[in-house]
């Protein structure tokens, strides 16, 4: 069976490097979520299936959180933690990680955290309401108790030693 085909180029979408983190991010504390209700099908850089569910132009920053669970798995891992809000209430959050393969390649394993560990800082992209469950986000970075920092993109993870 033979087929004729013509190669067409149709680069009609604006090209930005989705793998790079946004240069300007607005940092918010605790439960403040900036939601840009952009439908996934018109977002020009939504080239990864799970990032369609998160607002990559916003950030949620949680400090002094307590780990509930830390799973490194495929297709996605998860960090579950509890944070105290401004009213003194403990609020449970879940932050999605990249795949277990990407996470482990970055030098990060599930054994590095245990329930009860305290994380100084967790930075996430907030979930888009209606698409994800409440208090759900995509993990952007987290600081370990020993000062090491893990940073994430949808397809990578990197561990930076606290002494570096």
């Amino acid at each position: 069976m033979t087929f004729g085909d013509r190669l067409q180029t149709c680069r009609d979408a604006p090209v930005t490097d989705r793998d790079a983190l946004p240069a300007n991010t607005h940092r918010t504390r605790l439960a403040t979520i900036l939601v840009a209700l952009v439908a996934a099908n018109i977002h020009p850089v939504a080239a990864h299936h799970s990032t369609m569910f998160f607002d990559i132009n916003a950030e949620v920053v949680h400090e002094n959180v307590t780990v509930v669970d830390f799973v490194v798995a495929n297709p996605h891992g998860v960090l579950i933690y509890v944070v105290t809000d401004d009213g003194g209430n403990e609020v449970r959050w879940q932050a999605e990680l990249p795949s277990g393969n990407f996470t482990r390649r970055g030098g990060i394993s599930a054994s590095m955290l245990s329930p009860g560990d305290r994380l100084p800082t967790v930075v996430c992209w907030p979930g888009i309401p209606g698409l994800v469950r409440a208090n759900t986000s995509r993990l952007k970075s987290m600081e370990f108790p020993n000062g090491d920092v893990a940073t994430f993109t949808p397809v990578s993870a990197e561990l930076t030693k606290g002494s570096e």
């Binding site: 085909d5 979408a13 080239a47 569910f53 297709p75 996605h76 994800v132």
Partner: protein
């Protein structure tokens, strides 16, 4: 099925060329020029270049209707179903290529995908089932590997964004792979006239990564869609 024909067209024509000096008597494929694609490859194209705005895809009415019904939380990857073709030909995981006389095997870390590209002129047997990876045959055009894939599943998507893919009997994918130094380039065209007004072009690339190792990819569906808001 004999995967290695007893009569080798390449050998026959090579001999004929030597005997007659008239290489033009032999079809180009028989005295085939090949490239070496073997090795482990890592993508070197930003995934953002794959993003497409759905309004500019040139969807047919049926394609638009299918897209309108799409729910991101229904992504089969959340249920550990492999991406296959065409969706998975641009995944960001490692790719290993093994070349044999009768087939080229593409091994992808992502979901342990094994894809056979038959190079011996065979066609899909009658009643070959549809599948996420389809049935692939290949040929050389000079040093370019041309892969044709049919028997594709309607459960698949065009790309990682979930854009529609009909998978009907008229769908097929043509991929062209070329190597320049330690870079491998793919130019693909997805033919899906039911859903797209024009063939859909996809480009991707890899660089040789001999020090990398293909990992296993154990997928746990418990961690697929646990964050996704279920329909009420």
């Amino acid at each position: 099925m004999n995967r290695k024909p007893k009569f080798s067209p390449a050998g026959f024509c090579a001999g004929l060329v030597l005997a007659t000096g008239a290489g033009i008597l032999c079809p180009v494929d028989a005295v085939r020029a090949q490239a070496d694609f073997e090795g482990i490859w890592m993508h070197n194209v930003p995934l953002s270049t794959l993003a497409r705005v759905s309004s500019e895809l040139g969807l047919t009415r049926a394609g638009q209707a299918d897209w309108d019904r799409y729910e991101p939380q229904d992504d089969p990857l959340f249920r550990c179903i492999m991406p296959g073709v065409p969706r998975g030909i641009t995944d960001p995981y490692l790719l290993e290529i093994i070349q044999q006389e009768h087939q080229i095997v593409m091994l992808r870390e992502y979901f342990h995908q094994v894809r056979r590209i038959y190079m011996d002129g065979r066609e899909a047997p009658e009643h070959w089932p549809l599948s996420m990876s389809g049935y692939s045959t290949g040929r050389w055009e000079g040093e370019t590997l041309v892969v044709t894939t049919t028997h594709l599943s309607p459960d698949n998507a065009m790309n990682i964004q979930g854009h529609p893919f009909s998978g009907d009997e008229h769908t097929y994918v043509i991929e062209r792979y070329t190597r320049t130094g330690d870079e491998l380039r793919m130019e693909a065209v997805v033919h899906d006239p039911a859903f797209y007004q024009e063939p859909h072009a996809i480009e991707f690339g890899w660089e040789l990564a001999p020090d990398e190792e293909i990992w296993t990819y154990e997928c746990d569906p418990r961690f697929g869609d646990f964050m996704i808001e279920a329909d009420p």
